[in-house]
Structures are given as structure tokens and as C-alpha cells.
């Protein structure tokens, strides 16, 4: 590798002006040029916070020598007078793939899944490539460099954006004159991570973002273990990771959720990730701030949707319109909250959009100094290159911009972008700005003459009185050429005028009239008419003010989000029918007092000063519904890449913005267990949450929650319905399923023994979790259908001396209820689902009642976002099918799931001292006519019918306002994009992530 590098340097150096000192000169005499260049009379912005007025910047050999007001110029010095102009350190984009080709997907891939790694001698997973070096693939891209230079950039960091661990990136100056030996500032400056798999490998694992997170963690454990010299074999990937451990780590998050997930991993391993964000950080600014991480923020703003067709407009969701509306505030919000961040052009379709986007952000309150820092000093510091780039301090690279005025003003012209002492001209400074209005006098007539447009591409307009005359203007090297066709000419003939513009504001020249006679002419510049300009300005201002009216954030920032989070209240329910789920049974005409988030009193004639009193006459009060088996409020369900995935946890991927949380609340649900899917015999760990709508993912998690893991049996784990290509993975039969458990638990046992012995061991997250089961610290809830497999798993557990806690679905539980009772396992089943696949042929709606009759703790679960919001109706089916009493049926969705989840000490019944997770129903809660009117969690009302009605009105109003704003934008000529609606994905047990 090093040899190749050397070769490259030699080849490139032939083009060198300043050949390296120890290189022979074989094609001519050896030359060197030690000249200085001085830029004088400029406003020099050494750094965003340090400015020298009317100063001099002295550079030599591509670096800054000195700067100041009293610089004595050396003799071999070229001086460039920059009177009235500004010098800024040029920009740095630290997140690019500049010069590195995107890898291509292999063509014609096999349809059979691949489970093992393709690379030998590296980590077991192809998506872990810390050994990948951006430098090895780097090829300076002059065309792209020019785009960056035109936008004001002087330096970029670049890396291969492929894989979960992506290896190292390099820092390179956008020096189009010299070779790599000059412009590459650091060959290995950064290391890179993401949650996205490599496109070059088809290795199945991981299939989900929670799998990617688990994999990253395991790699860190393994790297540590490897570093300690414990491995008997070589692993070049781990070696590379260990050798680049001192480099800053950049994590490509690309979404707000992933921002926080990245931070979570970083905290676990004591690392400082630099997180490449999404642009939506404003939505959870407090959490972002609390990460204390540095960020790289894309400067990309959504275009307004084309909503002129009401039919299409109806398809745009409020959250997407809000994103369009609020997105431009992101940088301002981050800056105001003192989040340390650099800017990147990474997500822009074209770098040309950079300036307009940045100006937009500034219009939305982004501080200009902060903007400059985010483009210079901050990325320099994050890259560990503050002494070389980012400022114009002595010794830094001479990477700077020359501008006509203050940066980030619309009018300011970027004249030159110097990179490592090499000039790139963007706009010729010497071109005179002759734009303006003139009185044009030719052949005795006076015309109105306006020159407008870009300096390099002027436009002319000639009017006689109010009649427009066809004309054409060209302007180069100080000479103006003007053609026009005088009025009332039958033939198209031209008056041709020319003039040098180097004398003052007015223009004098000669030309040829239509008749061929020479003439002389003048254009006298008009005084600016202030009076005319002003009304125009005002008009513009008015428009602008309306167009960037920003809608307030809600919690969460989607439809039905709260403008203000609801607060805990002391609440007194009067004269209500209370379903206690305790020995008291159903109490009529009873009062319930809620205080400090707990049920404080149950009885008659309770009074409490200051309590909010709710009349419960004719209504029913119950504890909140608990769904043992849910897949809402998550962005992943299955990690299907392995048959055992105990290492993944749903707690990593809780989605607090899912509107189904709100819809569940409206159905009286207060607690749910988000389970891993059923793709594997050993699934992932569960997340137990309370539906505190508007709270962050962390706040949703149940406090002091018992630990659960999902297992699964049957058709799903043996991939029966996955098509004929999925016949590779073990197990493919129920016989194999047993052996998966035997294998994993045996290994977990041996692992745990080794760990407990105090001898060195390789930390394995998966084994740690399985050992928790063996040590009775974690419960299993197992997706199950057929009696044979249910029986089997209980026997496996017996062999390893632990108990299965819950069989979920458990559709043939009724066939082995006696055995289940003996084992001590509970059942969480569907009320009436069947016939959707072969293994549910014998599923019967009497299952719950039969298991209940045998003394098993029975719950009804949903596994479905639609059913979960009316689980009260499902509970009623236990009355219909099997004749349970209403009181017992109600426990199927409240107390019994609480028991199965080991949280019945806090929730599941209306009892003094328990959490005030309560629902007020309009009717008997088991009745189809019952509606949840108020749902409370820990004394906070998260749903009530009045607020819901109000929100419906507000959503309509907000949608309308936003659609009007978009139409305004469209009429201004802004680009719009076709309406888009995110297709909401509803998860079930067998759902896979679409990546």
C-alpha cells in the first residue's frame, strides 16, 4: 500500500512547480519559488470572532505568514490591493464522499439469503469494515472540487459511505493546482460508523437498526478482547479498529431517532461520537442538547409541496407540512441552545443550493457568526486540524475567500477562493459594475436605458417613453457593446454602439446608425430615486414576514401532539361504577380520589379541596388496559438475520411519535409491551412502556421494569411462509427449533460458568442475556401455537431449571392447559383469531376460557395496531365464548397482563396506592357501546374526548394555514415537489424492516 502511495506522489509531482526538496529534477533545472503575496487594505476575518480592519494578509508557500495592520512587506512580494473587500477563512465540509466512488450493488445476486461473511481473516460480519480506508479509494475529482470551490469551500473530509463500520476518512484541501502530496492534509483523520449495511455484501445480519446497534456494541466488546491478546486467530478488521481508536468517530445518524441512538451507544462505551444529524434536531432540542455531543448538520430544507390540487393536498400529512415549515429553524435552534455543530452540504442535491439554503437559515434566525464557525473553526477542531485550517492564524493553510462585503449577505459577491495559496477566480474583481439606470442619448433622441442581471451576464432594457425596444448588450474587458432596433423600422436594422467604460459612472462612446453613419453617444447614470425604491422594499418585507411564520412545536410534533404537556392533577371521580379488579369487585356509586399520580382514596362522599371533580354518574371507571403483545411505537420489529437475536432490544428503537400511541390511549390502553417479532426462535428483548403521549422514548419506558425477552415457535421461525428461497437457515422444522434452544442454553450455561469462575472470557451480549434467563433475572414470553412445541419449550426450560413466564398467542394452550398449569406459565392469547395459517387450524375462541378454567393466568393481547385500540371489546369475547363473568373477562386485559408482566404491584387494578392509570368509560367497558372518555396515566390526563375534539379542529385549521403558505410559496415561483405521504407501516409479529 505504501509503495503505491509513493508511486502516486511521484507521478503527480511531475506537474509540480515547487518540486520537493529531496526530489531530483530530471526534466530541467531545479527551481523553487519563495515569493510572498500580500493582500492589503482588506477587512480580514482571521476567525469568526477576530477581525482586522484595513489590514494586510501575507502568505507564502500556501500558508499564512502573518496578518495585521502594520505588516512590513518583504522584498520578494506581490501585492494585491483589496480595498473595500473582505477576507475570510474558506469553508470546511467535514462530511463528504468527495473523490470516492459509491460502491455498486453486486448485479444478479442470488435469491437465497447469505448468513455467513464473505471476507476471510476479518470480522464475522461483512458490514464491519473498520479496515476500509477512504484514502485507498480516493481520486481527486477536479469537477466536484470546482463545485465546492464555487460555494466557498477550501477543505473537505471524505470517506467511503458504505457499511456499518466504514473505516477511516481523509482530509483534503480542494487544491486543483498541486498534487496529492500537497493537498492531502491527513490520510486517516476520521473513523466512520452508521446503522446501514454495506451494499456490497448480501450477508443477512443485521436486518434492523436495533440489530445494527447490537452489532456495533459487540464489535466494541470484541475489539477490547482482541486488544488484550485473547484471540487465537487474526482479525484484520478488529486490528484496524483498534489502531484507529484515537481518531474522531463520526456516526451517520441521518434521523432524529438515530441521533439519540448513536449517543446511547457512545455513552455506553465512553466514546464521543460526532453525530451526522438529519436537520430535524429542533424537534427534540432538549434531548439533543443533553447528549453533549458534537453534530454535523446537513443544510437541506424541504421544498413546499404542490398543494394546488385539493385532492393531492389531502394526501400530505400535517407532520410533513410542519417539517417544511419548521425545518429552516433547525440551525437557529441548535445555535441558540449552544449545541456544537458543523455544517455539511452532504444531503443537498447540488452544492449550488448551499448559499440559498444558508441564507434561508439566517433569515430564520441563524446567527451569522455561528454560521461562520460551523463552516470553519468547528469542523477544523472536530477534525483535530485547528492549527492548519479553519482560521487565518499564522501557519495555517492559505485557504481563504475574497468577498465584496460581509459574508452571508445576499448581495455579497464571492470573488476569489484561494486554496493552499492557489488562486481560484469565481468572479473577476476587476469587472466594473455598470448596472444601473441611464439616460441614453443617441442621434438626438433620449432613451431610458437600464442595465441589470449578473455582472458577467448583463441584461439591457431600452425604452423610448414607455415603449420597449429590442436590444442586446455584451460587456467584456471593460468594453460595452450595445445593439438595438429603433422603432418604426420596416426592416430589422440595428444601431450598433460601443464604448469603453473605464471613466467614471457615465459612458461615452461611438457607433454606427442604421443608415451606416458613424455617431457618438452617451449614457448618463441617473441618480437613485429613493422614493421609488422604498415602497418596493416594504412590499417585499410584508410578503416575507408572512412566508416564514413558523408553527409552534407540539409534543410530539405530529398531529394530535400537545401544545403544552398535560400535568399531573389531583382528580376526584364522583359517583362512578368502579371495576376494582380486587376483592371488592365492581363498586357502584363510588368516589375515587387521585393524588400525586396514585389512587389515594376509594369510598363514598370523598372530598378533596382543590381537586378537579369529574362527575361519573352513569359511567364506569377502570384501571388502564395493558397490552402484553404490541408492535406499535417502534421503528423495528424483527431482527431476522440470525435465528437467535437476544442481543437486540426493542428499547433501542422505541418510537414516541407514533400516532398509534394516541389512538391506543383513546381506547383506554395505558401500558404496552413492545415485543420483538417472531422471526427467530430466540428473539430480542422487549420494551415495556406507558403511553405517556408527548414524552421522549426514554420517558415512555416503564420505571423499574422487569426484564423480558421474546421467543417464538412454529411456522414463522422455521420460515414456512417465507417462500422457497428461504430454506437455508436453521431451523426448518419444529425438531430443529428444540435444538436451537438446547444449543444456545447449553452455551449460555457454559459462558455463565466461565464468567462466574473469574477467568477471562469474551463478552458476548447474546450470552449475557441468555444467562440472565438461566439466572431467573429475565422472563420469556414465547409466541406459540401448536401443543407439541408448547410442551417442548416447557421441557427445555425444565432441563435448564428455569420457567417460561408467558406463552403469547398460545392458540393451542387449551390442549395442554394442565401441563401449563403444572409448569406455572401464563397465557396471553388472541380472543378469536384463527385460519390465517396452517398452525392456527385448531385455534378456538374458547381458548382463553379453557385456560382460565384450569387456573392459568390468561390475558388477551392485540399484536395489532387496530385491535389494540379496542381491547375492551376483545375482553368481552371471553364472555361470549366460554361464558366468563364480566369481572373475570375484564381482568383479561388489565390485571392478568399486569400479573404476567410482573407489574401488578403498581398497575392492573383500582387500588389505593397503585398508579392512577385510569380510564373513564361512557358505559360498561365490555360493551360495544362503551367509549373511553378520559384516559389517565399516573394522574396525568393524556386523552379526553373534549381535548380530542379540539385537536380535530386545530389539525384542520393548521393544515389549512400551511397549505395556504405553500400555495403562496408556489406563486412566488419557488420549486415545489409532488405531494408525499409517508406510508405508515403497521407491524405484526412477522414484519421485517424495509431498509
Amino acid at each position: 500500500m505504501k509503495k503505491l502511495l509513493l508511486f502516486c506522489l511521484i507521478v503527480i509531482s511531475i506537474k509540480q512547480l515547487n518540486a520537493q526538496v529531496y526530489f531530483p529534477a530530471s526534466t530541467g533545472v531545479k527551481t523553487s519559488n519563495e515569493k510572498f503575496t500580500a493582500f492589503t487594505n482588506a477587512t480580514i476575518h482571521i476567525s469568526p470572532t477576530q477581525t482586522i480592519e484595513n489590514g494586510t494578509l501575507l502568505i507564502q508557500n500556501g500558508k499564512v505568514v502573518s496578518s495585521g495592520n502594520n505588516i512590513s512587506l518583504p522584498k520578494n512580494c506581490i501585492t494585491i490591493d483589496l480595498e473595500g473587500k473582505h477576507i475570510y477563512s474558506s469553508f470546511i465540509d467535514m462530511y463528504t464522499n468527495f473523490g470516492i466512488q459509491k460502491p455498486k450493488k453486486p448485479s444478479n445476486p442470488s435469491r437465497k439469503p447469505q448468513y455467513d461473511a464473505s471476507r476471510k481473516g476479518y470480522y464475522w460480519n461483512d458490514h464491519i469494515m473498520p479496515d476500509q480506508r477512504g484514502f485507498d479509494e480516493f481520486k481527486f475529482d477536479s469537477k466536484k472540487a470546482k463545485e465546492f470551490i464555487d460555494a466557498g469551500f477550501g477543505t473537505v473530509a471524505t470517506h467511503q459511505q458504505n457499511g456499518i463500520m466504514r473505516g477511516t476518512g481523509l482530509v483534503v484541501a480542494l487544491n486543483t493546482t498541486d498534487g496529492n502530496e500537497i493537498r492531502i492534509i491527513d490520510t486517516d483523520a476520521t473513523q466512520h460508523i452508521s446503522l446501514n449495511k454495506s451494499v456490497t455484501s448480501r450477508q443477512a445480519y443485521p436486518t434492523s437498526s436495533m440489530g445494527s446497534m447490537a452489532l456495533i456494541r459487540q464489535v466494541y466488546h470484541d475489539a477490547k478482547w482482541y486488544r488484550a491478546g485473547n484471540s487465537k486467530t487474526k482479525d484484520l478488521a478488529l486490528e484496524a479498529l483498534n489502531s484507529s481508536s484515537r481518531l474522531p468517530i463520526i456516526f451517520e445518524a441521518n434521523s432524529l431517532d438515530n441521533d439519540l441512538r448513536a449517543d446511547k451507544i457512545a455513552n455506553e462505551f465512553g466514546l464521543n461520537y460526532i453525530i451526522k444529524g438529519s436537520g430535524n434536531e429542533y424537534e427534540a432540542i432538549n434531548e439533543i442538547k443533553n447528549t453533549n455531543a458534537s453534530f454535523i448538520i446537513p443544510i437541506k430544507f424541504q421544498k413546499p409541496y404542490d398543494v394546488s390540487d385539493p385532492y393531492n393536498a389531502a394526501r400530505v400529512e400535517l407532520q410533513d407540512m410542519l417539517a417544511w415549515n419548521q425545518n429552516p429553524t433547525n440551525l437557529a435552534v441548535l445555535a441558540k441552545n449552544n449545541v456544537n455543530f458543523a455544517l455539511t452540504t452532504a444531503d443537498l442535491k447540488s452544492i449550488k443550493e448551499f448559499k440559498a439554503s444558508l441564507l434561508k437559515a439566517i433569515k430564520y434566525g441563524f446567527d451569522k457568526t455561528k454560521a461562520l464557525e460551523a463552516l470553519t473553526t468547528i469542523p477544523a477542531k472536530l477534525l483535530g486540524k485547528s492549527s492548519e485550517i479553519g482560521t487565518l492564524n499564522n501557519g495555517s493553510y492559505a485557504n481563504f475567500l475574497i468577498t465584496s462585503g460581509e459574508l452571508f449577505e445576499k448581495k455579497t459577491i464571492l470573488y476569489e477562493n484561494w486554496v493552499q495559496g492557489n488562486k481560484n477566480v469565481l468572479k473577476d474583481m476587476s469587472i466594473k459594475d455598470i448596472r444601473g439606470e441611464y439616460d441614453l442619448k443617441v442621434g438626438g433622441k433620449t432613451y431610458n436605458f437600464t442595465i441589470s442581471g449578473e455582472i458577467e451576464k448583463l441584461k439591457s432594457e431600452i425604452k423610448l417613453d414607455s415603449t420597449k425596444i429590442a436590444s442586446n448588450i455584451s460587456f467584456s474587458n471593460g468594453w460595452l457593446n450595445l445593439f438595438y432596433t429603433p422603432l418604426n423600422k420596416e426592416k430589422t436594422e440595428f444601431v450598433r454602439l460601443t464604448a469603453s467604460t473605464n471613466k467614471g459612472d457615465n459612458i461615452f462612446g461611438g457607433g454606427v446608425l442604421t443608415n451606416g453613419n458613424n455617431t457618438s453617444w452617451s449614457a448618463i447614470k441617473k441618480e437613485k430615486k429613493d422614493k421609488e425604491d422604498k415602497p418596493d422594499d416594504k412590499k417585499d418585507k410584508k410578503k416575507e414576514d408572512k412566508s416564514h411564520l413558523v408553527m409552534p412545536l407540539t409534543f410530539p410534533n405530529v398531529a394530535f401532539g400537545f401544545k403544552e404537556m398535560p400535568k399531573q392533577e389531583t382528580t376526584l371521580f364522583k359517583n362512578v361504577t368502579v371495576w376494582t379488579n380486587e376483592s371488592e369487585g365492581i363498586l357502584k356509586n363510588t368516589d375515587v380520589l387521585v393524588k400525586n399520580g396514585k389512587v389515594s382514596k376509594i369510598g363514598n362522599n370523598i372530598s378533596s379541596s382543590g381537586a378537579k371533580v369529574i362527575d361519573g354518574t352513569g359511567k364506569h371507571l377502570t384501571s388502564g388496559i395493558i397490552d402484553e403483545h404490541s408492535h406499535i411505537a417502534t421503528t423495528s420489529v424483527n431482527e431476522a438475520g440470525h435465528n437467535s437475536t437476544a442481543e437486540v432490544t426493542l428499547e433501542d428503537v422505541v418510537d414516541p411519535d407514533d400516532v398509534d400511541i394516541y389512538r391506543n390511549l383513546a381506547g383506554g390502553v395505558t401500558t404496552i409491551q413492545i415485543l420483538h417479532g417472531s422471526a427467530n426462535p430466540i428473539g430480542g428483548r422487549a420494551a415495556l412502556i406507558k403511553l405517556k403521549w408527548g414524552s421522549s422514548a426514554d420517558e415512555l419506558l416503564y420505571k423499574n421494569r422487569p426484564k423480558f425477552i421474546k421467543f417464538a415457535l412454529g411456522e414463522n421461525v422455521k420460515q414456512s411462509n417465507w417462500g422457497s428461497d428461504n430454506t437455508v437457515r436453521f431451523p426448518q422444522t419444529r425438531m430443529g427449533v428444540e435444538q436451537v434452544y438446547m444449543d444456545y442454553f447449553q452455551r449460555a450455561k457454559e459462558y455463565d460458568n466461565l464468567k462466574k469462575s473469574g477467568k477471562p472470557y469474551r463478552k458476548d451480549i447474546e450470552m449475557e442475556v441468555l444467562a440472565e434467563i438461566l439466572n431467573k433475572e429475565r422472563f420469556i414470553t414465547c409466541h406459540s401455537y401448536i401443543q407439541s412445541e408448547i410442551n417442548m419449550l416447557m421441557k427445555v426450560a425444565d432441563k435448564f431449571d428455569f420457567n417460561i413466564n408467558t406463552f403469547t398467542h398460545i392458540l393451542e394452550g387449551y390442549k395442554v392447559a394442565d401441563k401449563m398449569k403444572e409448569h406455572g406459565v401464563g397465557g396471553s392469547t388472541f380472543s378469536d383469531w384463527w385460519a390465517y395459517k396452517y398452525e392456527v387450524n385448531d385455534a378456538i375462541p374458547y381458548n382463553g376460557a379453557i385456560m382460565h378454567s384450569q387456573g392459568i393466568t390468561v390475558a388477551f393481547n392485540s399484536d395489532d395496531a387496530e385491535m389494540s385500540r379496542r381491547l375492551n371489546q376483545e375482553a368481552a369475547k371471553a364472555v361470549k365464548y366460554g361464558g366468563l363473568s364480566e369481572e373475570e373477562a375484564w381482568k383479561f386485559v388489565t390485571l392478568n397482563p399486569a400479573k404476567l408482566l410482573h407489574i401488578d404491584d403498581k398497575v392492573g387494578s383500582v387500588k389505593v396506592g397503585k398508579d392512577a392509570d385510569l380510564v373513564l368509560w361512557s358505559d360498561n367497558p365490555l360493551s360495544i357501546y362503551a367509549k373511553a372518555e378520559r384516559t389517565m396515566i399516573e394522574g396525568v390526563t393524556y386523552y379526553d374526548t373534549d381535548t380530542n375534539e379540539r385537536m380535530n379542529g386545530e389539525i384542520k385549521k393548521e393544515r389549512n394555514e400551511l397549505i395556504n403558505m405553500m400555495i403562496q410559496e408556489k406563486n412566488k415561483g419557488m420549486k415545489t415537489v409532488a405531494p408525499k405521504k409517508k406510508e405508515k407501516v403497521y407491524f405484526h409479529c412477522d414484519s421485517l424492516e424495509n431498509k
Binding site: 387449551y814 379453557i850 365464548y881 365490555l926 360495544i928 357501546y929 367509549k931 409532488a978
Partner: protein, 433 residues
């Protein structure tokens, strides 16, 4: 002796259980039946407390008050405190066409090809389906059996749920032709690198044009010599002579308006909108053109995050208030096994503003009207089929939807199922242990 007979019959019962899973269809009604004392929900909005209902030879002969001094006929069922309902009808169903969703060999709802008007659902209807059997104890006694897929999916028929074969089962053969009206919006094929999410469907007009050509061809064909025979064109003729209904499966308001215009252009008189996700936005047009809607079941999620979370529950009322005739389409996730929840979809619509009797119409008289079988079923009225049932309580509420008796064309059907048998079998196992 009687003991022996009892034992033999028990033995026979056990044998029949082990031989076939399905219940044997009941023989033709020969004994008259009187149901007395029940609250009768006629299905047309009327309720008769303490009612008297009599039927003979499969037809209802009397409906009135029990106080009436009139001779009771045949076996008298005392139904005091109970409720009697006309049999529920599941529209746009695939009952009997698919047994187990995940097992391909049992799937007979979706023929290959896109223009299949000649494909007839009745042919594949399995009257011995275990799933269909399980619908009966909840009061669902009839269904429109509908082919799925393609642009023109095929021809549906209406069946009752107690039959030896599809001929016996049929109530109305080839009642309508079903078309999946295209969507004016299509979804990006993100796996092919297109942007995710909906966009204007470029093939919308093309697809409609294809069907327009087909319909025009069919009309032209009818006026010619009809040789050689063109089976698909032949099968479309019922749409133009009014003997068949055009069931347009469409959701969006734009699509619904386009369908209506299309049918006018084609002189298709009988049009029914199926699904009607946004039908409320064009309810006035539907009402003034007398076009009914088979609305999706109430137990569904809002179609967007912004939508009123209770919208799916309120939808029927919104349309009925505007004068649209509404029934319930059963199509959706796990639709065959979910068909037994049809009463509860109506119950949910009832709870959200419609009221019980109006909601009952959604699965009885309205559906009968929409399907063109209101001359024989759909209400408890003299002259109609005695296809009805007795429930312990309100049949729209799962707590009280507990059937004691059910009749199809006057035949008393067996309410046992594969599922109740398993229930009893295992309860017995535990009792005897």
C-alpha cells in the same frame, strides 16, 4: 331400549365428528315454527317487543305482536327476554374461496389475468368450509362471494351458509361484476430506486380507457352475430340490460366521481361503490344519483395520521345522514375469519351515532337492497325467507351475541362448529381427569 338408542345416536354423533368436521345441512323445513315473546328487530328499523313470528315451508308467514290472538303454528319456541334478527349478510366477501390464508393450495379467490368478467366465484365456493361454518353461531348466515384481483375481478354470487354444494347454496347466481377501479395516485417503487410515497398515477387514465374500450366492445358485440363467441364480452351483457350490478371498488372522491360518470356514459344502471374510503366527501353526489356504498368495516385504522381517530367508526353515520344507502363490505385483513365479527362492525357504527336499529340495517335490509336480494331476505317480513336467528341479547354487542337458534330458509341449522367441538372435547378432558 331408549337407552340403547341414545347410545347408538351418541355413537353415530361421534362417528360423524370423526368423519367430517362440518355440520350436516339441515333438511327442508317440514315442521312449522313459531317464535314467541322475543324482541324482534325487523332489520328495517322497526322493533317489536314481545313479538310473534311464524314460518312455514321456509317462508315467514306472520310477524306481529305476541298479544295478537292468532293461532300458533307448529313447534313453539319460547323466546321471552331474547332477541330475534334477520340473518346477517356479509357483502364483498371471500367466504368459501380461501380456507387458510397462508396455504396457497387453499386459495381460490384470485384468478390470473386482469380482465376476468367471465370468472365466476360460485364455482369455487366451498360450502363445507370450516371457517364459514364458524360464522353461523354469530348470526352471519349469508354472503356475497366475490372474486378478487386484476382490474375486472369477475362475477360474484350470493349464497346461504347451510348447503351440500354450491348449487344448493346459491341465493342469487352471478349477481354482479366487480371492478377494482384504479387509483389516481400510485406509490413509488422504492425498491427500484423511485421515491417512496404516493404520486399521480400515470396509468390511471390508461386503465380506464382500457375498460372503456372493453365495455364499448361488449356493447358492439351484442348487436352483432356473436360468432365466434367472445366469452368475456358475453359475460358483461348483464351490466347493460340491468340484470347485473356493477360493483366498483373505489376509495377516493376523485375516483368515485369518475366511476359515476363512466357508468352514465356506458349506460350501466346499477352501480355500487365498494370501500368508499372518502365517500363522505362526495356524499351528496352519491345520494342524488342513488348510488349505495358498501363501506369498509368499522374496525380499521384511520387512513392518515391526521384523520379523526374515530373517523372509521363514524363513517357510516356521515353517509347515512346525507341520504346514502350503506352496507358493510367485509374485505380486509383476515377477512374470512373476521366475518364472524360483522355484527360488531355494525355495533361499532351504532355506538358512534348511528343507533342500533339503523346500524342493524347495514348488515340486513340495506345489504339485501344493495345486492338485489331484498325480495327474499334482509328483513323479518311475511313472504321472505325464514333466514333468521334468536340471540340471548343484543346481537350487535359481543357480550350478548349468543345464539340459541338459527334458521336458514326455515331449516333449523346446527350451531356447533369445529371450534365448539374442540372446546367441549377439551373441557371434557379436564373434567374427566
Amino acid at each position: 331400549m331408549s337407552k340403547i338408542i341414545k347410545n347408538i345416536s351418541l355413537l353415530l354423533m361421534l362417528v360423524s365428528i370423526s368423519l367430517t368436521a362440518q355440520q350436516t345441512p339441515a333438511p327442508i323445513q317440514t315442521n312449522d315454527i313459531t317464535i314467541e315473546g322475543a324482541t324482534a328487530h325487523l332489520g328495517n328499523g322497526e322493533v317489536i317487543e314481545n313479538s310473534l313470528l311464524m314460518f312455514r315451508n321456509g317462508k315467514i308467514t306472520f310477524v306481529g305482536k305476541a298479544e295478537m290472538k292468532i293461532g300458533r303454528i307448529g313447534t313453539i319456541i319460547d323466546a321471552k327476554g331474547k332477541h330475534v334478527y334477520p340473518g346477517f349478510i356479509a357483502a364483498n366477501s371471500t367466504a368459501g374461496l380461501i380456507e387458510i390464508d397462508a396455504v396457497r393450495a387453499t386459495r381460490d379467490a384470485n384468478e390470473t389475468g386482469t380482465i376476468n368478467p367471465h370468472i365466476r366465484s360460485l364455482i369455487a365456493y366451498n360450502p363445507e368450509s370450516k371457517v364459514t361454518e364458524s360464522l353461523r353461531p354469530n348470526g352471519v348466515l349469508m354472503a356475497q362471494v366475490t372474486p378478487r384481483g386484476g382490474i375486472i375481478s369477475g362475477t360474484s354470487s350470493i349464497v346461504q351458509f347451510d348447503a351440500w354444494n354450491w348449487e344448493d347454496a346459491s341465493l342469487k347466481i352471478d349477481d354482479g361484476i366487480h371492478m377494482n377501479w384504479p387509483s389516481s395516485i400510485s406509490f413509488g417503487r422504492w425498491w427500484d430506486g423511485e421515491e417512496k410515497g404516493p404520486k399521480a398515477n400515470k396509468s390511471y387514465i390508461k386503465t380506464i380507457e382500457k375498460v372503456r374500450t372493453l365495455m364499448n366492445d361488449a356493447k358492439a358485440y351484442a348487436t352483432g352475430s356473436k360468432t365466434p363467441k367472445n366469452i368475456p364480452l358475453e359475460s358483461l351483457q348483464g351490466l347493460f340490460d340491468g340484470s347485473q350490478t356493477f360493483f366498483a371498488h373505489a376509495g377516493g372522491e376523485k375516483e368515485i366521481i369518475d366511476v359515476i360518470a363512466f357508468c352514465k356514459e356506458m349506460s350501466i344502471d346499477k352501480l355500487v361503490i365498494v370501500h368508499g374510503t372518502n365517500a363522505h366527501k362526495v356524499a351528496d353526489v352519491l345520494a342524488s344519483n342513488n348510488i349505495p356504498v358498501l363501506l369498509d368495516r368499522a374496525h380499521r385504522l384511520p387512513s392518515s395520521n391526521d384523520e379523526d381517530i374515530h373517523f372509521p367508526y363514524k363513517h357510516a353515520k356521515m353517509l347515512i345522514d346525507k341520504g346514502v344507502t350503506v352496507g358493510i363490505s367485509i374485505e380486509g385483513q383476515m377477512e374470512r375469519m373476521q366475518t364472524r365479527n360483522l355484527p360488531f362492525y355494525a355495533g361499532t357504527y351504532a355506538a358512534h351515532g348511528l343507533g342500533k336499529e339503523e346500524a342493524l340495517k347495514l348488515i340486513t335490509s340495506n345489504t339485501a337492497k344493495i345486492l338485489g336480494i331484498d325480495d327474499i331476505v334482509g328483513t323479518l317480513e311475511v313472504g321472505k325467507d325464514a333466514t333468521l336467528f334468536i340471540s340471548e341479547g343484543d346481537a350487535l354487542d359481543m357480550r350478548t351475541n349468543i345464539l340459541t337458534d338459527a334458521f336458514i330458509q326455515g331449516r333449523k341449522i346446527n350451531l356447533e362448529t369445529h371450534q365448539t367441538k374442540l372446546w367441549k372435547r377439551y373441557m371434557d378432558k379436564y373434567k374427566n381427569q
